[in-house]
């Protein structure tokens, strides 16, 4: 990529191959061409890039959090406060985001920190694909970073470097007044923003296609009942709009603009498209306690972030059978309380390996009617990973005579097996020859356990021939 800065054409972006060949960002195009014959150069298009970034921001808006802003030229700012647990925690969320970006061909780096500035610096200069800066440790991390992290214009940065400053820490030690006199107030402002001493509001992206309802208050409101009343009104208005469009909401954001120029938000998700105001109001009411109105709320905006056409279903009324009750509203309530991923149904997978025979599907996925095949009993409790046990057993196909698990030695009175499970060679090469022989054993007290021997007891390459406990029967 080549861009124009003033009258010079410079390299603005490059891929890994070009970097290996010695091309650098900021190099003159002519020099790069001389360095690498046959270099493919494309003109960069700032307008298209900005559009692409906005598109990414809208994607993140639908997927991750209600407050997302494009941070040109190459960043996204996402306020994930209160949204991370819905994605399984901060680290899972970041890993998931990077994976999704990678799937669409974008190489991304992500950071979570207390402030926009700290996250901005960590994402760009602490070069791991993802990093989480724990609360309160932003300043310590920033001190060691170079001055470029501060989002100052290049002239100021080079000026500071001329003066002998290298890291943010050195700059923080200095009295502010002389710096402000020489470089203007920008340095102080950026430092304070990065350290969270002054607020830096995020202006969230909005798409004109989204259906929204808005209420501006002449006098800021703060009481919970008042907020609840206006939520009901907004939901009513939004549902009327949705119904007109034939859409149901899958994801709704409620943004509260507070008088102190900060924002609070609530996001709810639905398993199926919904336009029933009562249900939606109920979901918002559950979340109301998480909203801190501060000194008062002056604007409330309700936005349908994700909508889907509603398929009206005709119900066949049967005189004989009672129709099965609809539980989708319950699923929504629970999903908004504990997180979307915490709700599931289990479904069979064609695999003999016990831990692979179960897959999670969404709770409202269509019924499959499938169940697990095979007559071998399965234990109601499966250990997260098989635990090694000490045993004495006759080879090759006898159950153990006794085993010691978690320090308790148990004599085996009766046993059933072996149930031989072979490795799935189509999944991993290493499983080509591996075998597990499962035994159900009962000890003297009648407690039943699921043991297996890794290996068939004869061949070295079938496994380690050690014994493991994998589950507990009732």
């Amino acid at each position: 990529m080549a861009g124009r800065t003033g009258r010079r054409r410079l390299i603005t972006a490059l891929d890994a191959n070009a970097e290996q060949l010695g091309v650098r960002i900021g190099m003159a195009v002519t020099k790069a061409q001389a360095l690498v014959p046959g270099l493919i150069i494309a003109d960069c298009d700032p307008v298209a890039e900005a559009e692409g970034l906005t598109k990414l921001a809208l994607w993140a808006l639908q997927r991750i959090s209600p407050v997302v802003m494009a941070d040109p030229p190459d960043g996204l700012v996402i306020d994930t406060t209160g949204a991370d647990h819905l994605h399984g925690g901060e680290s899972t969320m970041l890993a998931d985001m990077i994976k999704r970006f990678a799937a669409s061909g974008v190489e991304a780096r992500a950071a979570v920190a207390d402030t926009w500035g700290a996250a901005h610096a960590a994402a760009r200069f602490v070069a791991r694909p993802a990093i989480i800066v724990p609360p309160g440790e932003g300043e310590a991390m920033l001190r060691t970073l170079p001055l470029q992290t501060l989002r100052l214009d290049p002239g100021t940065v080079s000026g500071l470097i001329t003066l002998g400053f290298e890291t943010v820490g050195e700059l923080l030690e200095q009295p502010r007044a002389p710096l402000a006199l020489r470089f203007g107030p920008e340095i102080g402002r950026r430092l304070d923003q990065t350290l969270g001493r002054i607020a830096e509001p995020v202006d969230p992206v909005r798409s004109p296609e989204l259906i929204e309802a808005r209420k501006v208050f002449g006098e800021p409101i703060g009481a919970a009942e008042t907020i609840a009343r206006y939520i009901a009104k907004l939901v009513d208005a939004l549902c009327a709009e949705l119904e007109k469009a034939g859409l149901g909401a899958r994801r709704l954001d409620l943004l509260f603009h507070r008088v102190d120029n900060t924002m609070q938000y609530v996001r709810i998700g639905m398993a199926q498209p919904v336009w029933d105001p009562k249900r939606l109001t109920r979901l918002f009411r559950d979340k109301l306690e998480t909203v801190d109105p501060g000194f008062g709320i002056e604007i409330m905006v309700l936005i349908a972030i994700q909508t889907e056409p509603v398929r009206e279903k005709q119900r066949i009324s049967s005189l004989v059978e009672e129709p099965e009750a609809d539980v989708s509203d319950l699923v929504d309530v629970l999903a908004n309380r504990v997180g979307d991923r915490m709700l599931c149904r289990f479904t069979p997978v064609q695999s003999d390996v016990p831990e692979r025979s179960v897959a999670r599907i969404p709770p409202l996925a269509p019924e499959t009617g499938l169940t697990w095949e095979g007559d071998w009993p399965r234990p109601p409790r499966l250990l997260p990973r098989p635990e090694p046990v000490e045993t004495m057993a006759l080879l090759p196909d006898h159950p153990p005579v006794w085993f010691t698990w978690r320090g308790v030695r148990r004599r085996v009175r009766r046993a059933d097996g072996p149930e031989r499970i072979r490795g799935e060679w189509w999944k991993r090469d290493a499983e080509l020859t591996t075998v597990r022989d499962y035994f159900r054993v009962e000890d003297e007290a009648g407690e039943r356990y699921w043991l297996f021997r890794s290996g068939d007891g004869e061949h070295e390459d079938s496994g380690s021939q050690r014994w493991f406990l994998h589950g507990i029967f009732g």
Partner: protein, 253 residues
Amino acid sequence: MPSHSVSPAIAELRERIAHLEGPGGRARSVLPFGLTDIDRRLPGGGLGLGCLHEVAGGGNDAVDGAAAALFTAGIAARTKGKVLWVVTRPDLFAPAIAQAGLAPDRVIHVEAGDEKALLACFEEGLRHGGLGAVVAETARLSMTASRRLQLAAESSNTIGLALRRWRRQTEAGDFGQPTASVTRWRVSVLPSRPLPVPGLGRAHWLVELIRCRAGESEDFEVEACDDTGRLALPSEVAHGSPQKEIGRRIASG
């Protein structure tokens, strides 16, 4: 309970109690076990729907909760409609639950982050009214919490099953604390009967009805749930004790 009480004073008291309990207090539908020995002991002839029941494992099962989970799954399998199964420790192996008669399509699993969220989900499920049963694997169950759950179950006529399961064996003494649940069960494993061939037969459980509102406690020795969630009596109990026969044989020989 038999309704042929003779004393008019008792009849009057019953009427007053029924009045206090509100409409539907007595005429609640029940879920029978299908075993007369057990059903006879339960008021109404089965587990009351719209009630909270507690199940815990005995011995090591107080921590593992394997037999207790199967017993609970067997009860839930015999209800109609979807079943909500709330856990904090995700170690339930779904194929086993399916083998106890609870089809995977019917069970919605919820993994709550902590005990508080678990109880909230439990109550929410009970209040909804569209579910067949709600199962929650909980360690702590205070009087207040269980009272809330019981009221929620009453309001929707959904059966609530609190599967009591503790982190450590020492905490299991908590099961003695009073709660508002209608029945309280403890399921422990017993050594199974030897088969004529090598192998394992159907598991045997000692099912103790420790507490039963308006009923008496009792112990039952049963065979574990089959694939429709039904318990069975061990054959020797069902057909009378073999001891008598053996004793006679020895005496005559």
